[in-house]
Amino acid sequence: MNRIDARFEELKRQGRAALIPYVTAGDPTPDHTVDILHALTSAGADMIELGMPFSDPMADGPVIQAACERALSQGADLAGVLASVDGFRREDADTPIILMGYMNPIERFGTQEFLRAAARAGVDGLLIVDLPPEESAEFNRDAAGQGIHQVFLVAPTTSEARLDSVMAQARGFVYYVSFKGITGASHLATGEVSEAVGRIRGHTELPIGVGFGIKSADDARQVAGFADAVVIGSALVDAVFRAGPEHSAEAAHRFLAPIHQAMTPEEATA
């Protein structure tokens, strides 16, 4: 069973929403990535979204753009990203890893070769921002062939009609983009997001995660009240950056732990 499915089943039994932190692989350097991933799980991450750095991240805000630039300047590439996942898996066989990024580095690596290598390294899901369902039929089939879930974005602009075409290919969970914009921008309109999540539930049995614009423990707690997963990226990436390379893993833990705590229902902690 794919680790993503297993983890969501477990969380359902516990009555908890998943906490999914995002970090860019290779930031601040490729040598730090595995430690940061472990720090995140020790702080309560249920799954991890690991960014594949790209020179032209068109859906990302300034924080993740800068993270990509730092990672690339330190020599990060897809082979390195997969090596980090492999390194992480030596001590953690259970935490699902979802890679998030853009299509061109994968094209250059070779799509088939990449999917095989990702499966070998222990990748569970792939979210390719610039590969909507219209362009991904083949990729979707090939990823499934390797046991990897392709995760799709749903936006406030996604029509009812399109929802069904997204769901036809979506596996693992659905990632709802909480507002029209880029990563790290804006503030959360919890009421609207909750309503949208309800609307999406009419189209799928898959768990629904919410991301973009979740910055604090309070945001995370509110979203956990109606969604199955909470993704937190830019605020975490920024906190890790501010701590400096030497303290990056420690900063990741310090940032995430209180968010995990805020999301955990009291009866579960008792």
């Binding site: 790209f54 020179s55 032209d56 991240p57 068109m58 859906a59 805000g61 300034p62 753009q65 630039e69 690339l72 590439d77 897809l78 853009y102 299509m103 061109n104 580095p105 994968i106 094209e107 250059r108 690596f109 921002v129 610039d130 590969l131 909507p132 219209e134 362009e135 799709f152 974005l153 749903v154 936006a155 406030p156 602009t157 996604t158 029509s159 399109r162 997204v166 983009v177 029209k180 914009g181 880029i182 921008a185």
Partner: protein, 408 residues
């Protein structure tokens, strides 16, 4: 059996498909948030491209505001200098704002108005598309924001001021290489954020569907006019067409109405910069690989890790690491030939045209002129070449002076 001409014609009618694919190229490689806006644009454009009222308004704007039709001109002294085929120019440099770019922005501004958008955004490299966008926005009373890499802002100060005079806000882009590709990223980010009230005027035949299609269509007036003008003047079609290719809008505008004319050879001229072998160039078709950038699958320039590389050309308008997907398809099918001209060759052609014909061409167009001169020398005097003189070179005077060590 199907003849080659029929095959080409059949292909021309078949592309792009309803999702914007030119063979394996093009398509819709964008984040989910933009899909609804792009689908709406594609549907509206399909309707308006057959709407007589819309087409009449567009034609009237081209005649009265842009100054169309632009003439064709026989470059007698340049032909004599080269010795060989007779060289003609399609004078897009005589358009309002000084280049072919205005054809497209006039068309897209009309689309924006039909869609009820009050705000337009654009990306620009050299500033020509930014100026052309600011121009149409001013005319229609729309708010206009132009994204421009901070590196380009520094080297194109007169165009930055032009955009400001026209009431546009120029926003510097500080990410990545701070050039055209980064300006495009930033414009896409703006569009994702303001998709309800904003129309994105893309400046070339690239980007997600339907942009490669509609930008081609709005520029195809160039080729339609030129085809008729050559028939009227010479009684036959030219033997070859030559146009520079950055993203490729002036080239496709000229080529497209000739696609089915099997006897007309098509040459797209990319920027070889300091030489293809140096790696410092912008020749995606001649020296690139297939990948995905800015919403479409096409030939592009990247490193072995799939990261987009910085390009080089003396001409800022050709300094782009991708190319329109229809060019990628024309290359693969063999209908068009793609070649590259170095900075020094383009500069030499720039000077030739200044002195021999009294025309100061844009550095972009100088690449086409340079290749046409090479080509003409190998052809016979009873043959003809039509070059798209896509823009005038007033904007490049400072650049050329600086290269020659002259302080203005």
């Amino acid at each position: 059996m199907q003849t080659a001409a029929e095959a080409v014609q059949k292909r021309a009618e078949q592309v792009p498909d309803e999702r914007g694919h030119f063979g394996p190229y093009g398509g819709l490689y964008v984040a989910e948030t933009l899909m609804a806006a792009l689908q709406e644009l594609a549907e509206q454009y399909q309707r308006l491209s057959r709407d007589e009222q819309f087409q009449r308004t567009f034609a009237a704007d081209l005649a009265e505001y842009v100054g169309r039709p632009s003439p064709i001109y026989f470059a007698r002294r340049l032909t004599e200098k080269v010795g060989g085929a007779r060289i003609f120019f399609k004078r897009e440099d005589l358009n309002h704002t000084g280049a072919h770019k205005i054809n497209n922005t006039v068309g897209q501004a009309l689309l924006a108005r039909h869609l009820g958008k009050r705000r337009v955004i654009a990306e620009t490299g050299a500033g020509q598309h930014g100026v052309a966008s600011a121009t149409v926005a001013a005319r229609l009373g729309m708010e206009c924001v132009v994204y421009m890499g901070s590196t380009d802002i520094a080297r194109q100060a007169p165009n930055v001021y032009r955009m400001k005079l026209l009431g546009a806000e120029v926003r510097p882009v500080e990410s990545g290489s701070r050039t055209l590709k980064d300006a495009l990223n930033e414009a896409l980010r703006d569009w994702v954020t303001n998709v309800d009230d904003t129309f994105y005027i893309i400046g070339t035949v690239a980007g997600p569907h339907p942009y490669p299609l509609l930008v081609r269509d709005f520029n195809a007036v160039v080729g339609r006019e030129a085809r008729q003008q050559m028939l009227d003047r010479e009684g036959r079609l030219p033997d070859a067409l030559v146009a520079c290719v950055g993203g490729g809008s002036n080239a496709l505008g000229l080529f497209h109405p000739f696609i089915d004319d099997e006897g007309v050879a098509l040459y797209g001229v990319e920027a070889a910069g300091k030489g293809l072998e140096t790696g410092e160039h912008a020749a995606s078709l001649c020296a690139g690989r297939v990948g995905v950038l800015h919403g479409n699958k096409t030939y592009l320039l990247d490193n072995n890790a799939g990261q987009i590389t910085e390009t080089h050309s003396v001409s800022a308008g050709l300094d782009y690491p991708g190319v329109g997907p229809e060019h990628a398809w024309l290359k693969d099918t063999g209908r068009a030939n793609y070649v590259a001209i170095r900075d020094d060759e383009a500069l030499s052609a720039f000077h030739d045209l200044c002195r021999v014909e009294g025309i100061i061409p844009a550095l972009e167009s100088s690449h086409a002129v340079a290749y046409a001169m090479k080509l003409a020398a190998k052809m016979k005097p009873d043959q003809t070449i039509l070059v798209n003189l896509s823009g005038r070179g007033d904007k490049d005077v400072n650049t050329v002076a600086a290269i020659e060590g002259i302080d203005l």
